[in-house]
Structure formats: structure tokens, C-alpha cells
Amino acid sequence: MASRAVIEVRDLVTHYGERMILKGVSMEVHEGEVMVIMGGSGSGKSTLLRHMLSLEQATSGSIRLSGVDICTASTEEMYELRLKMGVAFQGGALFSSMTVGENIMLPLYEHTKLDHMTMEIMARLKLEVVDLAGFENLMPSELSGGMVKRAALARAIVMDPKMLFCDEPSAGLDPVVSNAIDDLILKLRDTMGMSIVVVTHELDSAFKIADRITVLDQGDILFIGTVDELKNSDNQRIQNLLNRQSGEEELDPEAYLRRLTGEDTLVKAA
């Protein structure tokens, strides 16, 4: 897959107050691929996403979306760019004062001159895509967690964006719904050719949807590559990350007891 890069991050350094969060991150996302950004809590993956969305100011480095440097882009350029971006936030971020249908129609209402009927039809189309047909008149507070995430996804794709960003699309959902969202992401890539960035810490989900994976660790890039390359990596930190999920099966009772009694840490300290 030698397609061109839609998203290019170069030497991105960011601070939160005094604390350095990203320590010179470089990566790119190609056209029509699903890039999963992984990493533990505090690894900076959400920060990286927020910078890609231009919601934060970077200390140094550059981010180019569709060739436009968003750190120096004018308001007009940013406006044009944002029409090509869809974002599904972690908590859904649906506007609680509007119905689900109005939420999904909002980008159309704000950016197009379509008549109301057409917008409603488009909103229903997108609701069909996320399997939420018939829910357009409900308020977000009347939806379950999984439905909110799917509705947020519908809103993110209503403008048929070139780039889609998803923050933890399947976190906190039951396996069935989580699986359905993964399928949906793959469907969006295949049918609409979107470039999709997914931030997640769910390994199963990442392995299923990713074309390539970026692993962040304490603000640094630990790994960029395909799922197979990740699985075959002999880097200890990556293996730790991967085994955290499956490590439970080979639980050593003695080691477990040692950890509980604190002997483990004593030995390490010695």
C-alpha cells in the first residue's frame, strides 16, 4: 500500500503546563487505511488525537492534514479542512438539548444549503448505516452507551468526510456492540474509502480493524507497523503491552502470592 499520506505528524512536541506529553512524535496515515493509535493510560494517545483535530496548540512540530499545516493554517483553511473531517468523541459528545436526528443534521444545517427534507433523509441514511434507524426523535439521554457512540459516529460521517477520527469507539461497551462498531469502521473504510484514525486501548478491537498500528509509550513512538509486525516484535515493552491482555491465563500462583505479600517489590528493591 504505497498510497499517499493524508495525515502527517512531524516531530510533534507538546506540553501540558510544565509537563511534556509528546516528545517528538512523527507518524503518518495513508489514504484509505485504518490507523490505530494504542498505548496505556498517560501515553499521550488522546493528546495526539486532540492535536490532529487542532484542539490544542503544539509546542513545536507540524501536523499536515490533506497537505495543509494545521499549526499555521488560516481560519478559512481550517474551516475548509474541518468539512473533510469527522470526529466521534469518546463520550459521544452529542448535544443534549437536541434530538439524535438534529444532532446528526447539525453539520449539514451549518455547512450546506440543502432543504430540511433532504437533510432529514441524509440523517436517516446515516442512522441506517449505524443500525439506529427510527431513533432520530429520541434525546441523547434516552439512548444507551453503545447507541450514543453509534449516533456520534453517524454524526461524524454525515458530511462524508475524507478523514475520520474515533476516540475509544468501543471502550466500556459489551463485546457484541463493540464488535459491531469495529465492523462499522471497516465498512466505512471499504465503502467510502475514508482514512480512519482510531485511538483505543482494546487489543482485540485494534487487531481486528487496524491496517497499521502506532504504539505510543510515555510520549514516544514505540512502534509503527502492521498487526503481524506488532505481534512478532521482540521489543519487551510491546510484548508487555500485548501480554497484559492474555497474561491472565498463565497466572503463576506463587508469583501472585509474592505480589500480594509484597515480597516481589522487596526482592526488586534489593
Partner: protein, 271 residues
């Protein structure tokens, strides 16, 4: 005493005062830039694909103004009657209770109507705006707006500001009438002055200047209430607790700002 340096109470106090002063100045600066941005989007939004939507302004006006009418009526009537009672009581000492109409007319139109309406709207709509914006910020709804290419100031702040700028003077004007009318009824019952004579006297006493004095203040209050609510709402940190905190703070700040501005305005205009 050798450890005085950074640990001495005086230094700590100075640091606290310094920090809150800087915080306050930062808030004022934020408010000023919000105001500038609001004016920008109101005037130029149409050309930058960010038009201010009239339906949004109207629905805010409904919330800020129309729905506040009943409570404004109750409070204004109470204030009018209270002024009449106190006025008659005080003037009785000089046997001049028939002059009470002057006191009522001036104090209602120049002072009490704008003040009481401002305080009421600060408590009712300013707090609601702060709570709404802070909740939206915590739920990433503001980020969602930004990322879909909708300017949050244009979408959320400008409609509220415009609605406040129209409805607060309108409510104040309404409050003028209700207060004067309620006071008139009390004067009628207590002193036997006919309502027609009362209305005649009131109209004689009041000039357009007096009315504009009150309405001018209410325009200032409208700016203050909205900007204080938005600055506080945007500064939210933490979850639900944070929302409660900024809501309370927004009401306290807004009422303080209203009362102090009222005093300064009265001083500057009468000198």
C-alpha cells in the same frame, strides 16, 4: 524565623492575593476578547460561513425574557409597594407624604427596576448559561462543535448575548411599569390619591433622561451577565462538582459586577 522566606504567612498571603488578582485580570481579559469576538461574528459571520442564526437568538430571547415575565412582575410589584410604604413612612415625619410620588418615580425608574431585573436575570439566565456551557465543555461538546467547523462563540455565545441585550432592557422597561403601577395602587389606598392623578404626577416628574438612565444601565448589565457567565463556564475544571462551582461563582460575580457597575454608572452620570 530563619525559615521565614517562602513559608511566612505574609508571603503566602501576598502570593494568594497576587494569584487571585492575576486570575481576575485574566478573566477580564477573556471577557474582553469574547466581547470582541462576539461583535466580530455578529457583524462578519455571514461572510465567513458562520452566520448567527436568528432562530437561536429567538429561542434564547424566549428563555431569557418571556419566561422571566411572571417572576419579574412579582418582584417589581413588591419593590414598588415597598418603596411606597417606606416613602410614605419617611415623609410622614415632615408631613410631606403627598410628595411620595417623586421618590417612587425616580427610584424605580433610575435604580430599582434595572437593578432588580438585572439581579433576577443574573440568577436565572446567567447561571443557566454558565451551567450549560460548563456541562458542554466537560462532555466535549464544545470540542465537537469546533471539530465540525462551527465556531462555539458564534454558535453559543452570540445568540445568548444578543438575546440578553434585547430582553434585559425590555424586561427593565416592563418592570418600570409594574413597579410604578403597584406603587400607585398602594398610594391610592393609603393616601387616597387617585390613580389618574398619580399617573399624571409621575409623567410630569419623569423625563426621557431618567428612563434612559435606567435602560442604559440594563444594557451594561446584559453585557456583564453574559460575559461573566461565559468566562466562568469556559473555565470549568472537574466534573459535575465543577459545574456546580462555576454556576455559583457566575451568579456571585455577576451580581457583584452589577451592583458595583450600578454605583459607578450612577456616579459618573450624575456628576
Amino acid at each position: 524565623m530563619s525559615e521565614a522566606g517562602p513559608f511566612s504567612p505574609v508571603v503566602r498571603l501576598a502570593e494568594r492575593v497576587g494569584r487571585s488578582t492575576v486570575g481576575g485580570i485574566e478573566g477580564i481579559g477573556h471577557g474582553a476578547s469574547l466581547l470582541a469576538e462576539s461583535i466580530y461574528w455578529t457583524c462578519l459571520g455571514w461572510r465567513k460561513h458562520q452566520p448567527v442564526r436568528l432562530p437561536a437568538v429567538f429561542s434564547e430571547m424566549m428563555e431569557v425574557g418571556i419566561r422571566a415575565i411572571p417572576i419579574v412582575m412579582v418582584l417589581s410589584a413588591a419593590i414598588g409597594i415597598m418603596l411606597a410604604i417606606q416613602g410614605i413612612y419617611t415623609l410622614k415625619m415632615f408631613g410631606a407624604e403627598s410628595r411620595v410620588v417623586i421618590g417612587i418615580a425616580f427610584s424605580v425608574v433610575r435604580e430599582f427596576a434595572p437593578l432588580i431585573t438585572g439581579i433576577l436575570v443574573a440568577g436565572r439566565s446567567g447561571s443557566a448559561l454558565a451551567a450549560r456551557l460548563s456541562t458542554m465543555k466537560i462532555n466535549e461538546e464544545i470540542d465537537a462543535l469546533t471539530s465540525m467547523g462551527v465556531n462555539p462563540v458564534r454558535f453559543l455565545v452570540v445568540p445568548a448575548l444578543l438575546a440578553m441585550l434585547v430582553m434585559l432592557p425590555a424586561l427593565t422597561f416592563f418592570s418600570d411599569f409594574i413597579s410604578l403601577f403597584a406603587a400607585g395602587i398602594y398610594v391610592n389606598l393609603d393616601l387616597g390619591l387617585s390613580l389618574a392623578a398619580y399617573a399624571d404626577q409621575t409623567l410630569d416628574i419623569l423625563s426621557v433622561d431618567d428612563l434612559m438612565h435606567g435602560l442604559g444601565k440594563s444594557v451594561l448589565f446584559a453585557f456583564l451577565i453574559t460575559l461573566v457567565a461565559v468566562v466562568n463556564g469556559a473555565a470549568v475544571t472537574g466534573g459535575a462538582e465543577g459545574v456546580g462551582r462555576v454556576t455559583t461563582r457566575s451568579v456571585v460575580h455577576a451580581i457583584t459586577a452589577i451592583v458595583i457597575t450600578d454605583m459607578l454608572f450612577a456616579f459618573l452620570v450624575t456628576h
